[in-house]
């Protein structure tokens, strides 16, 4: 648990994952499970920044696209709470009012960090 620059990250699997789905995933992927984790993390690491940039540019279309992708990938990795947050962001970005967006991005960031740590712990 290095790089713990975030405060209050809980590492309780059950509150960040659908644990059943996650074990199923492990079962399916077999020895490629670590690869999957690697790929997910590699793809998702830049996403929060990308969201921020999109917000700064007030680019709603980008916001929607990124949050949509983030939502899908997270859902597939059984990180359902994270996926839900992304979904909310995707919906709000449709509405063109950007008020809630910053707080959503922040919560997504936090949630992602938990998810990330837990995933890494599973494969180390």
């Amino acid at each position: 648990m290095t790089n713990n620059k975030y405060k209050g990250i809980s590492l309780d699997k059950a509150s960040h994952f659908d644990t059943e789905a996650l074990s199923m995933l492990e079962e399916i992927m077999e020895d490629e499970f670590p690869d999957l984790i690697q790929v997910y993390i590699a793809d998702s690491d830049p996403r929060v920044n990308a969201l921020q940039q999109a917000l700064d540019a007030k680019d709603c279309t980008q916001l929607r696209h990124i949050s949509h992708s983030f939502k899908g990938a997270s859902g597939n990795i059984a990180a359902l709470p994270l996926a839900d947050l992304c979904f909310k962001l995707e919906e709000d970005a449709h509405g063109d009012s950007l008020e809630n967006i910053p707080s959503l991005i922040s919560r997504i960031d936090n949630e992602y960090q938990s998810v990330r740590s837990i995933l890494l712990s599973l494969v180390s």
Partner: protein, 562 residues
Amino acid sequence: MKILIADDNTSDRLLLKKIISKQGHTVIEAENGKLAIDSYVKEAPDIILMDVLMPELDGKEAAKEIKRLAGEDLIPIIFLTSLVDAQSLADCLESGDDFLSKPYNHIILKAKIDAFVRMRTMHATLQKQRDTIVENNQHMLHEQHVAKAVFDNVAHSGCLNAANIKYMLSPLAVFNGDVLLAARKPSGGMHVFLGDFTGHGLPAAIGAMPMAEIFYGMTAKGFGIRDILREINLKLKSILPVGFFCCAAVVDLSFTKRSISMWMGGVPDCYLLSDAGREFKSIRSHHLPLGVLSSEKFDDEMTDHAMDIGDRLFMWSDGIIEARNAESEMFGEDRLLSIFQRELPTDDLFEAVKSHVSDFVGESERDDDTTIIELRMVEESELEQSELVMEQGTVTGPSDWSLEYELGVDSLKHFNPLPLLMHIMMEVPALRVMSGQLFTVVAELFSNGLEHGVLNLDSSLKSTPSGFAEYYTLRQQRLDELKKGFIKVSMKHNSIGGRSGIFTLSIEDSGPGFDYPDKFVQVPSESQKKLCGRGIPLIYSLCHSLEYVGSGNKVVAEIHWP
């Protein structure tokens, strides 16, 4: 199966790839819509899993293009989506065949893939079957064209284009079994034949060919219509399988006698109309169709009808009665009859029938089954001089000849010489037209010579029913016991310039003879009438004279033609 995964999300692709490979399929990947299209073209996957939202070209556009490229092949496309609202999901099905929601459920994915594999197999089978059907169909059409060409050569239209005939026959009629034949007779007059074979297609056409050959061949050789009917019936009976037959209306039209003789079997009523339209007669079928009965049972009886100049005979196959309109109603006999009750000018009737049927059928599928013919009585001189072509390969017949043929005891017991004698007589073309009657005369004279002359039987025995049976028992007995005797048949023919001739037949038996009356010429006396039994009317119309000579054991008949 080879499955293409098009998704811009690497982790999603990885997961899918794993799930699908585990199911035994090969996986190819594409990161966006454009690459998906390229992959489709290059790799020809069997099924495509396509993410909806992708950069470069989104899933739906890519799917549309791929479907277009696939043409009539089936390439199932399953959309991958995390959209949840019903409308979006429904929209997926517009350009794709199914959708799979994220997060992916591997059980559902497997089930969907299996379902599409089954569908592809079924689709491919259907395509193959369809292609086979198309090919077979083309073969059949080609064969039909060939068959039609052969048929047209054999069953040519004869004299259907004569001035006194109007007809309607579909050019493809051979394939609905309808046949129209017409031929001028060498002795003057015309034979007309309307036929309707059971069934359709080539089987119907095949039966028509030998029939047309017989009709044209025998007419040209001068044979009578009843002989022709017999031959046709025999031919059809022998070549057609049980259950196949030809309904027919046959006309022997005589311009000189202003009358027609008709034979109808299995066709609808035909109508005979006088010139002014005032007299209307409907003539119906009395016979079974051709090809049903054996020769022994076949009935060639014809009915005679007078036809003055200008009178018309209308005949048709049942296609006209059965013609259906869009509501599947039949045209029916009543409608047909009503056209004739309308007091239209008789010259317009043919067209009226045609247009009524055509209007009735309207736009609905034409069966092309309507065959109609109108025969008008005219002066023969009105018609084009026909080239009375004698068939190539047949000799025009010997013109002057004589022949003697003697039958001894053994032959009389076991051999029936009549067919042979008839055959020789038929070599005189002009005699063919009376072949049936000639046969009766020859048979009568021969049996007289055999039974009264050689076997010494008394014909008065035949006047009672029990005597009748006794007569024939005795006949057989005496024939079996015969030790001596003969019958001598002589024939002589002389033709005068090929336009007329005299045929002489004499039959001499070895019996003692009898007390005979004088030679009759055309007008027999009462005692002479008694002598001839059932051959009476024929002897009058046929023989110029009939004479007994010697002790009465020889009879000489002279027949003049034309």
